[in-house]
Symmetry: C2
Subunit: 452 residues, 2 copies
């Protein structure tokens, strides 16, 4: 029997700096605009939300940015994370493809999110901030920030999309175990929330609404900041530890990926694995195929528009040029809650627009089927979000089998499914169905895009 092989870096090889793809962008990105003036935002505009350390990273064009030692010390609790050669899966698929996966489920919160939660908590604590507000969908991000907050002595307030709050009571318990406060959104604690509730009392919420609530609370108090778990440049920067480690681990395996695959909601786990390899390519290194996988029911890259849009429903955030389904788009309630966002990271959108990233969309049933096939071979049950990357990987491996071609496929297994067993229960019982992208609602949401 073939056995899965682990490539584990020595702790001394934990990256000392994050990689910033802005330094290697083939073309410059469109500026971020102030939501009211529509002029390019300044560092001062962002100072009510984020610490200086983070704002500098957001706008930096330095290729490498040092990871502070206290952050590295926390990273070391679970990093470097393992990279595996999935030989058992290869065998099950009878494929000549070489399948590798980087496994981020080894973090205490079970996903890649602590990679950015820890530095964000660190920079805020270092600047004397006492409280951070945020939103969470599936709960991975809120859980991670709750954990990081406990470590750095910060109070954490999490607005959790109401449908997830109801579907996933254990995520709330997880956050509260770390001392965080978790509020179902839309809530009556903010103007933005009350407005939505007045219009739609039975609203089950969305990430866009939850962001509005968290931002609104953050700007009210000087000791309070806001943190975002994806989309922004500094978040993608922090996630680059994934790809930086993976590059070294692929070298240990004496191999190099022909194709890199990640699932995309806001884009942070995808960027984490892909950007260091893409930067290498832009600097004249080996070229590779890069595939972003999204849910067919929230098809930001495959059916959205590349345009300026708000990050939230109440239009409190800056305007960024990105692939978007429109900030009023309400994604259906499929189980990959981490992928239910109307927008996409501007850096990813920019690179997809330039043709450097291919996007693919899948329905949830085929993704769960792929996830179970992976689990039975590799022993790990993936998060529903990660199943999208698994599905694209299996499809690619089957293509390799049919073409008699041995390509190296690398994907990011961004989290385990321990907190998503209701989804698997429903899938196994035949109770899940595929949601459609509602093209009519989609058109309306796109028609509402700001004219910038």
């Amino acid at each position: 029997m073939s056995e899965t092989v682990k490539y584990l870096l020595d702790e001394s090889r934990l990256p000392r700096a994050w990689y910033n793809i802005t330094a290697d962008m083939p073309e410059p990105m469109a500026p971020v605009l102030h939501p009211v003036s529509r002029e390019p935002v300044t560092a001062d505009d962002l100072a009510s939300l984020f610490p200086r350390g983070v704002i500098e990273q957001e706008v930096s064009s330095e290729r490498y940015i040092d990871i502070p030692e206290p952050v590295r010390r926390v990273y070391r609790q679970w990093r470097p994370s393992p990279l595996y050669r999935a030989r058992r899966l290869e065998q099950a698929l009878s494929t000549p493809a070489r399948i590798y996966y980087k496994y981020e489920g080894v973090s205490p919160a079970g996903s890649h999110k602590p990679n950015t939660a820890v530095p964000q908590a660190f920079y805020n604590a270092a600047e004397g901030i006492r409280r951070i507000t945020t939103e969470t969908g599936a709960g991975q991000w809120g859980s991670s920030l709750a954990m990081a907050g406990a470590m750095f002595g910060l109070e954490i307030v999490v607005y959790m999309v109401k449908v997830s709050f109801q579907q996933k009571p254990y995520r709330r318990a997880f956050m509260e175990s770390f001392g965080a406060r978790c509020i179902a959104s839309p809530s009556d604690t903010t103007e933005s929330g009350r407005k939505i509730l007045a219009e739609r009392p039975d609203s089950t919420g969305s990430l866009g609404v939850a962001i509005s609530e968290a931002v609104e609370l953050a700007v009210q108090r000087e000791d309070t900041h806001y943190a975002l778990g994806s989309v922004l440049n500094h978040v993608l920067l922090h996630q680059s530890v994934i790809g930086l480690e993976a590059m070294e681990q692929m070298a240990m395996a004496d191999d190099y990926p022909d194709i890199v695959i990640g699932c995309t909601g806001g884009g942070s786990n995808f960027a984490g694995i892909a950007f260091p390899f893409m930067g290498e390519q832009f600097r004249g290194g080996r070229s590779l195929e890069v595939v972003a996988v999204e849910p067919a029911a929230c098809p930001t890259l495959t059916r959205g528009r590349f345009a300026y849009d708000y990050g939230d429903t109440a239009h409190l955030t800056p305007l960024t040029k990105m692939h978007t389904l429109g900030s009023s788009f309400m994604p259906p309630g499929f189980h990959a809650g981490g992928l239910r966002y109307h927008g996409m990271a501007p850096q990813i959108s920019h690179l997809a627009h330039l043709g450097h990233i291919k996007a693919r969309a899948y329905n949830q049933l085929e993704c769960f089927e792929a996830g179970l096939q992976f689990a039975r071979a590799e022993g790990i049950i993936p998060a529903p979000e990660a199943n999208h990357a698994v599905k694209a990987t299996i499809d690619e491996a089957i293509r390799c089998r049919e073409a008699g071609e041995s390509r190296a496929i690398l994907f990011n297994l961004c989290g385990h499914g321990n907190f998503d067993m209701q989804a698997y229960t429903d899938y196994l019982a035949g109770r899940l169905r595929d949601d459609e992208y509602d093209a009519a609602e989609g058109s309306m949401a796109l028609a509402g895009l700001p004219s910038v």
Copy 2:
């Protein structure tokens, strides 16, 4: 801020052999007796339940037993597991104690159980067995065997104690995700189950009943064996990888434990961490204190009797001399389901009887409180079972503070609490209470002990 330190062994230091404490026992153990003849059992008596490879280990007195290479290859997916110096917890407690914990939650099933599930599946598959039956309480063991079964192509049937089956639907989904069949016990699929249901139609089951059902099914078919997740010598043997690694990691930390702590249900995670150190002591090495921590509501070591008893309710298993509350004892439904067993591993019972292991019992509320204190400092939410070890560790660290003494405390964090968030939800909402050991029921159960 102090930071938790990780000691991670290189993969090349993964143990090549398990450690068998039988070789170093200060006095020989009482023989295991056949349930009907009451003569010492022979290897043949056990052959309908277990593969030869496992039976040889059960009765072996060799000090080291080679780990087969296919088992080591699977172990390598998550082993060697990390050992941490809990500096953040030390700081939170203002203790001069040095607190170390070995973390077994990094396995794909989230606990130490795969350490024995994998070799048991391997030996069965190697001997042509196609199906394994077992029981599970909290679900950690059933999940682990389901995973191992998927890896070695075995059909797995799990009898899950009904109260847990109802309380923990996600554990069932976990097992089914790996293709296992999960049946609530008592069930109508066996004679043992039907008998209990006839007497008590509303029975919520017990490990003793579930073992009877699994054993009954196993003996009916030649291609079917039974597997136990704790108690027996070979299970404790497999878990010795924990302590063997920990010995090397303590050496990396240039330290040696003054006290080793583990929680005890059947005893396997406790033996896993403690036996290699105890063996060293018996062979003339440094002496240390060894503490087994159990729930006050199922106080096998602290209030049970050291006597011959059956491992199951229907008395299908051999008789072993152990600490027992009586095989008819029905533990109350507290949340540390993995510690709800009437008996204790004979090797542990023997060593406790000889005075080499101290036992301590705690109520669940104080254990959850300790678990949350640990989580907020160290970032990991422990399983309710592991909270018992955490509680004893914190108590010891506080004693050190009060005595101004810097002792090295090592405990086994045998699993994470990701599947136990209902328990934390109830604890945080103030809905949990402490169960009492029912001394009257206990006396009745003890009165039913066989007269051997």
